[in-house]
Amino acid sequence: MKKLLIVDDEKNLRMLYKTEFEVEGYLVDTAPDAQKALGMFEHERYDLVILDIKMPGMDGVEALGKFLGRDNKIPVIINSAYDSYKDNFMSWAADSYVIKSADLTELKQKVKEALGESIFEF
């Protein structure tokens, strides 16, 4: 069973993502900020990280670098309310850039793609 690390400062969103992705059959850990997420990443092996960008303390772009610095094979999906970070070249290092939406279809699909379980509906 794949294990996801979802980093978001919004408690409600962590709850939603945990619920939704567990339904999808993943093990889900969540972290409220990048610092804690990096700490968890030290002790636990994850198959994929979903990273919010705008967070108090270390932001997602910086955290992306740190995650990749520890494991450059780890798939990271940026999930942000902003699309403006798309242009930031650091975000190019991420596997996908998904704008937050109530409809989680796109995010779920990108996670599957990144984990090599593509089941493209179209």
Binding site: N12, L13, L16, T19, D83, S84, K100, A102
Partner: protein, 975 residues
């Protein structure tokens, strides 16, 4: 009778004895009856010896041709002889003589010997006697008075008469000192009476005598007794001379001598005299000092040879000079030996001194020491020379007139001015200088010039003529010359020739008139902006009589397109009759150029006139270098062509075209470039064109060029103003856009912030709603309510996406795309919506369109937006038509609906942000479309005028690189 005869003899003897005349009495037979004492004394004989002898005894017949017997009355020359036989030439007068009342035979003849003269030293000379008597009485400059023994005056000569002032007839016969000269001094009286009693010889008396006129004079008298040969005193003689005059003379002489002596002694000029042998006879003080004579005389007599440096030889030469030059030599320059081995230069004036007989007896020499004099003299000479040079070389005529107004001095200036030499004019009056028709007036004028009572200079301008009859305008001044001016008396007249100045003044006046004319033309030109009108004004200026007065004027301009010099405009009559009519009309209607121009501006030129037809036919290729007009044009030179055909300057064809071969040609030069020609001629009146007219014409050509240049500048100015206006408008738009962009940016940041803040809760709400609905049973009544939540969060999320896309300033990423496929893809994305809408899609896209460089995502969004708008505009169904077309680099895509359409006011705001007519929607859709299309360097426009419905046109460049290049060029052009 005897008694009578005896008495007669006695009477005769008495008569003959007492007569003072020399006479004889002759009887009719020529016998001498008796002779007077005077005659017997003359013939040195006596009465007795002559009586009874024939008259021929006295006047022998062999010496006298005249018949003397009988004696006839009359005058005759006879030679008589005395007792010694000496001849006496004499003049006799025979006249009948009657002693009383005797009978006829008693008639006698008296022969008087009137005048006579004998041989030399005979003492017989009646003329001399008479002269002596006459001298004594009339000419003797000594008063003589003789009395007889009784003191009765018997002789009283004229001189005595003059001295005493008493006429002779009052004195003769009266007794001295009783009836005459009773006031004489007692000494005189006493002496006189003494002289009558005892012999007195030359007793001398001087006395003052006051005559009847009250004039006192001094007399010197001498009184002598008259003692006869018998030793008896017969009377007394007194001589008298007026010595008052000689006394005065003596005083005068003494005074003059004193004066001369003082003069000689005090004069600074050394003066000395020498005798004819050169010996010094006199020297004045100055001469003594100069010659150191005190030392020299001590060494013996001084001679002229000692005085002159040249010695005796020079002294001899001087005497010779004097003899040659009538005894007078002046300015003889030499050196004078002053003793002590010093010499001084001197100028001498020398003259003979004459003795009483008028023979030269000496020489007087007056010395001028030049060492002192020379400087002064040379200065005077220099000044005189300056003055003379000044007068001679003065360009003014300097003329001196004598008192009769005749020329005395006539300098070179006068000679030059009047072309009359000094020799011609000296002694003449100035009448010859006065213009003939002004004789009377001008003489008085000339007079007025000189007559200035205070003798001051007076200017007067008048006209005179020179010898060639040319008129001169002269300024005259005249001055009275007084005697002290070196003996010149009369009037000094100076004429200054101001002819040229006057002429210049006239020219100046003419030029001023010229300028004002040009000014009028310039004014007319300035008030006109139309090129054709201004060129017309120039041609009028050339032809108007108040302007240059040419008959005709042509204007030719270069046509650069056709490379020809083409006739543009002309003015002038076609023939003499038309000329007369037009000129009369103009003359009667317009007084000034200004009026003419005003009239022209209102009515314009007659463009169909003969000359305008002529000028429009004039087209000369610019490469025809044989055409003199082209040469003048290209070389920018003026021509004054006179009889051009016969002179070989103009071709007959050209002359025929112009209908003239005598004309002036001037180039019109604009900024060093010929732009055309101005031609003018006098075809009608054939007046010759002089160089001045050509140069004036050139001036008009300059006006023309300025006008053309001005007009060109005016047009370019208008263009520039238009460009500026456009730029201004664009600038204003840009500024509006900028303001709008700034406002949007501020709003946008706020909106973005709000959007993101909203997005997270939306995701939670929407996410959990979807999570919930999945867990609900199909028929759960709560499902419908949760769907509402999902729907609404979706709507909000879409709204946020639109807003955020608008905020995003992403540059499009261009890739060649098939526009048709893009449209079809978009339709595909909208399948569900289209099915619901009951709208029919009409595809009129062009087949096989070129690939267009575009950002497919962005354009898809635009299309999506437009299609959705169209569907929303047709809620009850309709037709959506897509069309495409290609125009060069522009690909045009049109989206048309059959909906409600858009109002005009709304159309303007259609693309503005946050504008919407819909109840739902962000109001950003079309704004985003517009921005995307702009980023693609394309245009989006809306057309909603024709009928219901709306058409959006999107124009996109097929090739982005090409349009970018074009933009760069445009920017570069603007700069």
């Amino acid at each position: 009778m005897v008694t009578l005869i005896k008495d007669k003899e006695t009477l005769l003897r008495l008569v003959l004895q007492t007569s003072s005349e020399a006479l004889v009495l002759l009887d009719p037979a020529g016998t001498i009856l008796g002779a007077s004492l005077k005659l017997t004394e003359l013939l040195n004989t006596d009465w007795q010896h002559l009586a009874g002898k024939p008259f021929t005894h006295v006047a022998p017949t062999e010496l006298n041709a005249a018949r003397l017997c009988p004696p006839l009355p009359g005058k005759r020359r006879l030679t008589v002889v005395d007792s010694a036989g000496s001849r006496i030439h004499s003049l006799w007068e025979f006249m009948p003589w009657s002693a009383g009342t005797g009978s006829a035979d008693e008639t006698l003849t008296a022969a008087y010997m009137k005048h006579w003269y004998g041989g030399p030293e005979s003492g017989r000379d009646s003329f001399l006697d008479e002269a002596v008597h006459e001298f004594l009485t009339d000419s003797l400059p000594l008063g003589v008075m003789v009395t007889d023994r009784s003191g009765k005056v018997v002789l009283y000569n004229n001189c005595q008469e003059r001295i005493t002032g008493i006429p002779a007839d009052q004195v003769l016969g009266s007794t001295l000192f009783s009836g005459y000269a009773s006031h004489a001094p007692d000494e005189i009286k006493r002496k006189f009476w003494q002289a009558l009693k005892e012999p007195v010889d030359m007793s001398l008396h001087e006395f003052d005598y006051t005559d009847r006129q009250g004039v006192t004079r001094r007399f010197r008298g001498r009184i002598s007794s008259l003692i006869g040969p018998d030793g008896v005193i017969h009377g007394a003689v007194q001589t008298l001379e007026d010595v008052s005059r000689p006394a005065q003379l003596q005083q005068e002489i003494d005074r003059t001598r004193g004066f001369l002596t003082r003069l000689l002694e005090t004069t600074p000029n050394p003066i000395f005299t020498t005798d004819m042998r050169g010996r010094l006879t006199f020297s004045n003080k100055a001469a003594d000092e100069m010659l150191s004579l005190h030392e020299q005389t001590a060494q013996g007599p001084v001679t002229a040879g000692d005085i002159f440096l040249g010695g005796e030889r020079e002294a001899g030469q001087i005497i010779q000079y004097l003899a040659e030059r009538q005894g007078s030599v002046e300015n003889y320059e030499t050196y004078i030996n002053c003793g002590n081995n010093t010499e001084v230069p001197a100028s001498l004036a020398m003259s003979y001194l004459y003795d009483q007989d008028g023979n030269p007896e000496g020489v007087i020499s007056i010395v001028q020491i030049l060492a002192r004099e020379r400087k002064l003299e040379s200065e005077i000479q220099r000044n005189e020379h300056y003055l003379a040079t000044f007068i001679q070389n003065s360009p003014d005529a300097v003329i001196v007139l004598d008192e009769q107004a005749r020329v005395k001095t006539w300098n070179q200036g006068a000679a030059n001015m009047f072309s009359r030499t000094r020799e011609e004019m000296v002694g003449q009056t100035l009448d010859g200088l006065v213009p003939p028709e002004e004789q009377a007036i001008d003489t008085s004028r000339l007079g007025r010039v000189e007559f200035n009572s205070d003798g001051k200079l007076k200017h007067y301008t008048t006209e005179l003529v020179n010898a060639r009859g040319e008129r001169l305008v002269v300024e005259a001044t005249s001055t009275e010359l007084s005697e002290r001016f070196n003996g010149v008396s009369g009037r000094l007249i100076i004429f200054r020739d101001v002819t040229l100045r006057n002429r210049l003044e006239e020219i100046l006046k003419e030029n001023l008139a010229e300028l004002s004319r040009i000014n009028e033309i310039s004014e007319a030109l300035l008030t006109s902006k139309d090129l054709d009108e201004t060129l017309g004004i120039i041609l009028i200026g050339v032809t108007a009589s108040q302007g240059l007065g040419f008959n005709r004027a042509f204007l030719l301009l270069i046509d650069h397109e056709d490379q020809v010099l083409a006739g543009k405009l002309a003015i002038g009559p076609s023939d003499a009759s038309e000329a007369g009519r037009i000129w009369n009309e103009i003359h009667s209607r317009y007084n000034t150029l200004r009026e003419l121009f005003e009239a022209y501006k209102q009515s314009g030129l007659d463009r169909d006139s003969h000359v305008n037809r002529v000028v429009r036919n004039l087209r000369f290729p610019l490469n025809d270098r044989d055409n003199p007009l082209i040469t003048a044009l290209l070389e920018k030179k003026s021509l004054n062509i006179v009889n051009g055909v016969s002179m070989g300057v103009l071709s007959p064809e050209l002359a025929e075209q112009l209908s003239s071969d005598t004309l002036a040609v001037v180039p019109i030069v604009c900024e060093y470039r010929s732009v055309g020609l101005l031609l003018a001629d006098n075809m009608i009146n054939r007046r010759p064109i002089d160089e001045e007219a050509v140069s004036k014409l050139r001036m008009f050509a300059n006006l023309a060029s300025q006008t053309i240049e001005r007009s060109r500048l005016y047009h370019s100015l208008e263009e520039k103003i238009q460009a500026l206006n456009t730029t201004y408008r664009e600038l204003k738009e840009s500024r509006d856009k900028l303001v709008r962009a700034e406002r949007l940016s501020a709003l946008g940041q706020l909106a973005a912030h709000v959007a993101h803040e909203i997005r997270n809760p939306l995701v939670s709400i929407g996410g959990f709603a979807r999570n919930l609905v999945r867990e609900l049973a199909e028929d759960d009544p709560a499902r419908e309510k949760i769907d509402v939540i999902i729907e609404e969060t979706d709507r909000l999320e879409r709204y946020l996406n639109d807003t955020l896309t608008y905020m995003r300033h992403n540059n499009p990423v261009f890739r060649p795309e098939d526009p048709n496929r893009l449209v079809h893809d978009t339709f595909k994305m909208m399948d569900a919506e289209l099915e619901e809408s009951r709208v029919k899609i009409v595809d009129q896209l062009m087949p096989d369109p070129p690939e267009v460089e575009l950002d497919a995502d962005q354009i898809r969004q635009v299309l999506l937006n437009l299609f959705r708008n169209a569907l929303e505009a047709m809620p009850g169904g309709g037709t959506l038509t897509v069309r495409s077309a290609l125009e060069g680099n522009a690909f045009i895509l049109s989206v048309a609906d059959t909906g409600v359409g858009i109002g005009e006011q709304e159309r303007d705001k259609l693309f503005a942000a946050f504008f919407t007519t819909k109840t739902t929607g962000s109001g950003l859709g079309l704004t985003i479309c517009s921005q995307i299309i702009r980023n693609h360097r394309g245009v989006i426009s809306v057309d909603s005028e024709h009928g219901p419905g709306t058409v959006f046109h999107i124009t996109l460049p097929v090739n982005q690189a090409a349009i970018r290049e074009a933009e760069h060029e445009e920017i570069a052009d603007r700069r």
